[in-house]
Point group: C2
Chain length 341, copies 2
């Protein structure tokens, strides 16, 4: 399988993550990519460097204000007195009629969903190339590859059209899906990350042309807490085009695969002709941020079930943190997928 990967992710190395009131080191570290690459090399896959697709694909998903913020925030933040090295939001809008402030502290609060998504000097460049990687994988599939995998870092599925969150800045998955949609593909997004794909859902929530489906740990006690519930089915024209399948904390392979069958049936009913998978590996039983209990062989079973859709498929890396088995898990998934081609 072709694997699109850029070393430019290394310029994003977030240091801060406010967890239960304490500042810790972010779990979204560059070493994640090293471990994933080890699994990819062991699986015999082919690395491809992404092309530069320009600003168009990201501008098709994210607002101009937000993109300008991401590109300029770090430099503006450095001009503040006594500021931290990384941009970290403190405040947030609380009302539907929130205006857009001019100062960088206010803008950080507007565009950042949590205090765990700091913007450092190299964040923008890394995020841009992660998005190019996702588009490149989509282009490979558009050109006839049955499946391609984008090893994106930072991840993207918690990023909204105008907000960063949960380690995510640009929504790589949504950018790939939108890029394909504009090329007349009928796209379904399937999110198997342990966390609800809230950003992807938000981006397509009022649209019937892209189906969004997410399996994830029940948000009642798990990030992103406020959305990801089964009652969220889309709004307006998009009503019925979003499916959430929250799972009890600790759900293991068999329970997961049962829910996955429901997701796959919905994708078939939508008559998708192309699939984008938001491929988190943090549903792993040994993941540092775990909420579910998928085994390493379980990822192969999940991949086989997804491959059974027989759809051209773009795999976009999302979460999955520094477990020793992270490389084994991506290898298991990719091998499982290829076994059903």
């Amino acid at each position: 399988m072709k694997v699109v990967y850029s070393e430019k992710h290394q310029s994003h190395d977030p240091q801060t993550f406010l967890v239960r009131g304490r500042m810790t080191r972010s779990a979204e570290q560059p070493e994640r990519a090293d471990r994933l690459l080890a699994g990819i090399h062991a699986g015999g896959h082919t690395l491809v460097a992404p092309e530069d697709f320009g600003p168009g694909p990201r501008a098709a998903v994210h607002t101009p204000e937000y993109l300008e913020f991401l590109e300029t925030a770090w430099a503006r933040w450095q001009a503040l007195p006594d500021a931290s090295d990384e941009v970290i939001a403190n405040v947030r809008p609380m009302t539907g009629y929130a205006s857009y402030p001019t100062g960088i502290v206010g803008r950080a609060g507007y565009h950042m969903a949590d205090s765990g998504t700091p913007v450092g000097q190299g964040t923008w460049n890394a995020a841009v190339w992660a998005a190019h990687s996702a588009v490149h994988a989509a282009a490979l599939v558009a050109e006839g590859e049955r499946v391609a995998y984008a090893l994106c870092r930072p991840p993207g599925h918690h990023a909204y059209a105008d907000k960063a969150g949960g380690f995510c800045f640009l929504s790589n998955t949504a950018i790939a899906a939108e890029w394909l949609t504009r090329r007349r593909r009928r796209v379904a997004v399937l999110d198997v990350d342990v966390h609800h794909g809230n950003g992807t859902q938000g981006i397509f929530y009022r649209r019937p042309d892209v189906l969004t489906v997410s399996l994830h740990a029940d948000p009642a006690e798990f990030y992103p807490y406020f959305v990801g519930y089964a009652a969220e089915r889309g709004e307006g024209d998009g009503l019925g085009y979003n499916l959430n399948l929250p799972l009890a904390l600790g759900t293991a392979d068999d329970g997961y695969l049962q829910a996955l069958d429901i997701a796959l049936a919905r994708i078939r009913a939508f008559a998708a002709d192309t699939l984008v998978v938001a491929l988190g590996l943090d549903a792993y039983e040994g993941d540092p941020l775990k909420g579910l209990a998928i085994t390493t062989p379980g990822f192969a079973r999940i991949a086989q079930a997804i491959a059974g859709l027989k759809l051209p498929t773009v795999l976009v890396q999302e979460g999955g943190y520094l477990a020793p088995e992270l490389g084994d898990n991506i290898r298991s998934f990719l091998t499982g997928f290829e076994s059903r081609l």
Copy 2:
């Protein structure tokens, strides 16, 4: 003038305040009350301890979910692994369809507007007695006092019906205003804190029976950043019953008094029969959180202008931080007010 004050505020001593990405000590310290008391003693005013008005007045303004959260959050937080001593939010809802999570991390994110409003062991008790103090001052005015002052700590005007923010937990000002409204008073709220009274505005935003007016530093580059703009005039039945007068950063006495004239004209047009003043002193030129440049004599002039409305008036302490002149400023305001009775 009668000054309602409870020593119980001392149990709230917040340690953390995330400012420009760095954890600092909160500016909302118990010593604020000591300095205010020194000014009050120097002015020859009379201290009164608040009565316990029970849960009714706060429940008339805040949601049951939020009140339960405030009362129980600290104990629930202590049960988390590796949690900080104070409850500090990391996440936040980003969509209009936010659900209400069950876990305390999610609930903290739901109910807390920023990372500068930590809940400690004694926060609830202090907030409850601050609210009782405001109601007690309102009761004094309802019983015939021309003016009464509640030395509330923690402050309240950034707290919404269901959210803490900006050092505030229970909206003392709104609780006093609502208590009076339910006793057939026609109440106007005038907020002279340097920060927009966003919580008070939010609580009454859809109601025509309480007029809310706020003078404050322009939020485009100043807390609360997202609201406090002139375009916000109320919603639904409340349209036209909210007036924001944002002032350029650095505005001094004369410019302030010109804007105050506009505020007072609106209050007269509303035909209020009772006034509640959200009395921040952080518009002071030497305040640590300053945005405007009011002088100590300027507070007397502001108070004289307000007293010129000739309305029964409840003064509720809001912001004003550890400047050496904090006591002088409250003395100046109260003396100025009494000079026009």
